[in-house]
Symmetry: C2
Subunit: 401 residues, 2 copies
């Protein structure tokens, strides 16, 4: 299994911040495009057929046997400053599992595919799982085309501008039933992102419902020295209350709520801000819990905004209801793996989006510290190898012989 380590290390330097060790593989950025080139190179070395679909997703097909394919894989893109494993582990493990099966002389009865889905984190255009949402028809292509990044570059502009492996025709994005019809099931291997797994490998139960909301506060820009407190319309004040309300509402309802991103305009030290924009991420074990958490935050922040004479708006940007993966596929994987644990996840995944169109399932690999979306995210080499072995066993079972 030295092959896994060599493969892993060949990807590792791409997009890594030399100071923090965090990864910046933002969708359609130079590092993420280099990851795609790495994918194509590894696929061609293995005589796999590379396919770029119309939505920015990459596939490498082992064209063997007949009927619908068994698909595995994950994503390359990271959150800003994220860890090495979230996403890439599923792709590298897929190549390694395929090598293992071939070394054993295995030939599948159905094709096997490896996927790299685009913009899973939503770090650039604000919608998570954008590639799989487009493929499965979960987002209107007209809406996707005009999504803009922090610099104002739209999705349509970004994918058209690229001349390499990320190039797309922005007018032809959207649901692809022909491609979906060639896939029998999708099994995504992913690093576990909490501390829920105390053995090397587990199988996903369900994905918690989760969503993103934008908070807009409009006040009045003014001089920080000469404006009396009672004359202010300071949007930072209700924003401060939003941060605290998010935490307290999540505690009360047994949910998770996070504000990790905020912009202030104009952003001067001696200037009362005129506008504050922030983003709320909320998740919970059920739709009702998430709804109640967000409703409480909205109510508390509205009161604070009214008190400070600030206009406040809360706009939903994306929402994914509870996703339970295919029970039959899960049962079959548990039989193939022999008694590994089943665990829910609070993180969204492409497998959750594709579950609306295909039987999907997930394999989780242990995360000893529970840290994710940060440079400290880690999986031991032993557990990586256990993940590859489990994925190989599942593919062998699903693709037949």
């Amino acid at each position: 299994m030295a092959a896994f380590a060599a493969l892993w290390e060949s990807l590792l330097p791409i997009g890594r911040d030399p100071v923090t060790g965090g990864y910046h593989r933002i969708a359609w950025s130079e590092p993420e495009l280099r990851c795609r080139a790495w994918f194509t190179h590894e696929a061609e070395r293995r005589d796999l057929t590379v396919e770029r679909d119309g939505n920015g997703n990459l596939f490498a097909w082992w064209v063997e046997g007949r009927g619908q394919a068994v698909l595995t894989g994950s994503h390359f893109d990271s959150v800003p400053g994220g860890g090495a494993f979230d996403g890439p582990l599923g792709i590298v493990s897929a190549f390694a599992a395929l090598d293992l099966l071939r070394a054993e002389g295995y030939r599948p009865a159905h094709p096997i595919g490896i996927a790299a889905f685009a913009e899973e984190e939503g770090s650039r255009f604000g919608i998570s799982c954008l590639g799989s949402r487009l493929l499965s028809g979960e987002i209107d292509p007209d809406r996707a085309r005009v999504l803009a990044d922090a610099e104002g570059v739209t999705f349509a502009e970004a994918v058209t501008a690229d001349l390499g492996p990320g190039a797309l025709d922005a007018f032809r994005i959207g649901r692809d039933d022909a491609l979906l019809g060639r896939i029998g099931c999708f099994v995504e291997l992913h690093v576990e992102q909490g501390r829920a797994l105390d053995v090397p490998v587990g199988v996903a139960g369900a994905i918690w419902p989760h969503g993103r909301w934008r908070l807009d506060f409009a006040g009045r820009g003014d001089h920080a020295g000469s404006t009396r407190l009672e004359d202010r319309h300071d949007p930072m004040q209700p924003f401060g209350h939003a941060v605290i309300a998010a935490r307290e509402a999540a505690e009360r309802h047994g949910a998770r709520a996070t504000i990790g991103r905020v912009n202030t305009v104009p952003g001067g030290t001696n200037v009362i801000a005129s506008h504050v924009t922030a983003w709320l991420d909320a998740r919970g074990p059920g739709d009702e819990v998430v709804r109640a958490t967000v409703a409480e935050i909205r109510e508390r922040v509205s009161l604070a905004a009214a008190f400070h004479g600030v206009e406040f708006g809360l706009t939903p940007e994306s929402y994914t209801p509870l996703v339970d993966f295919d029970p039959d596929l899960r049962k079959r994987m548990l039989a193939a793996l022999g008694g590994v644990p089943v665990l829910p996840t609070a993180a969204g995944h492409d497998a959750g989006i594709l579950a609306a169109r295909l039987p999907t399932a997930m394999l989780f690999v242990r995360n000893p510290t529970g840290v994710s979306h940060a440079p400290e995210e880690h999986v031991t080499e032993e557990d990586c190898m256990a993940g590859v072995a489990a994925l190989a066993a599942v593919l062998r079972d699903l693709a037949g012989a």
Copy 2:
């Protein structure tokens, strides 16, 4: 007095955001350098001698009479998205007052100078009144050279890179006693920045003590979905408390405290931030009030940070104690103007910095809405003309005949 309006309008388009109407005349940016070129052009048209000192400040001298000069003027640079009047009104009024005196056939017994001081707002390098601080020796040149802007460009690099009217030798910045020795007094005309003036013109009493502090919160970046609330070290939480504590402490102590600028790292929607950095601006009628306000904020935020397992540091970046302007100069101005009001100001000014070296004074012009540091900042044309007339009367009195 149509001359004032024409002069004012010739400067008005430079650095104005066509959408918001706010000004972006950041020190050593292209718009601010265009303002300097405007200054040189207007000075040369009037046969004034232009002098660029070693600290980025500009002077236009009416070399006439003998002895120490009477200096007036203000600054061009703005806060991001600031108003048109804060700074430039003092420079344009100075040229207009000089035109008025000359039209009356006046010839001064002492030289008269017009100054444009650099980086008064501190919007680029974080230290307000940087040009006058360097000139008067209020800041160590070694410290100034390494001050960095948001892009990491240092003051030394920025002033060396410029080849036009902002060019400086960064190795020769610092206190200039020869230049200071040529100036008898400095009178700065400025838009009033609150609602303290209900007649067109007033004279400054004192400048409130004011300072800036940096708040650094270091937590742990983590996944917004899968990290349990009790496992988080979320620096946004104590930041939220800081926003609220600043307002409440200012209310309790009769001070003003503002947080208008914040950065989060990494700044992703589905990522718990690892670091939050923010800036606090605090001012009050006395040093003790400011000290007590900041101490209370520090204490409350330290508690919140400890509760959330986040490291917190509060670093002073600049502090200017209470400045009372020269009483004799003020008395003489009040006599020349005949019974205008005397008012304190909560905003810092170059005249406050230079007060440590020279007799200084300020003339305020009425601000009907009290809004400043924002596009809505306004002075009526009538009040502008009253300001010019008052400044001309003061210059005539101080420069003798």
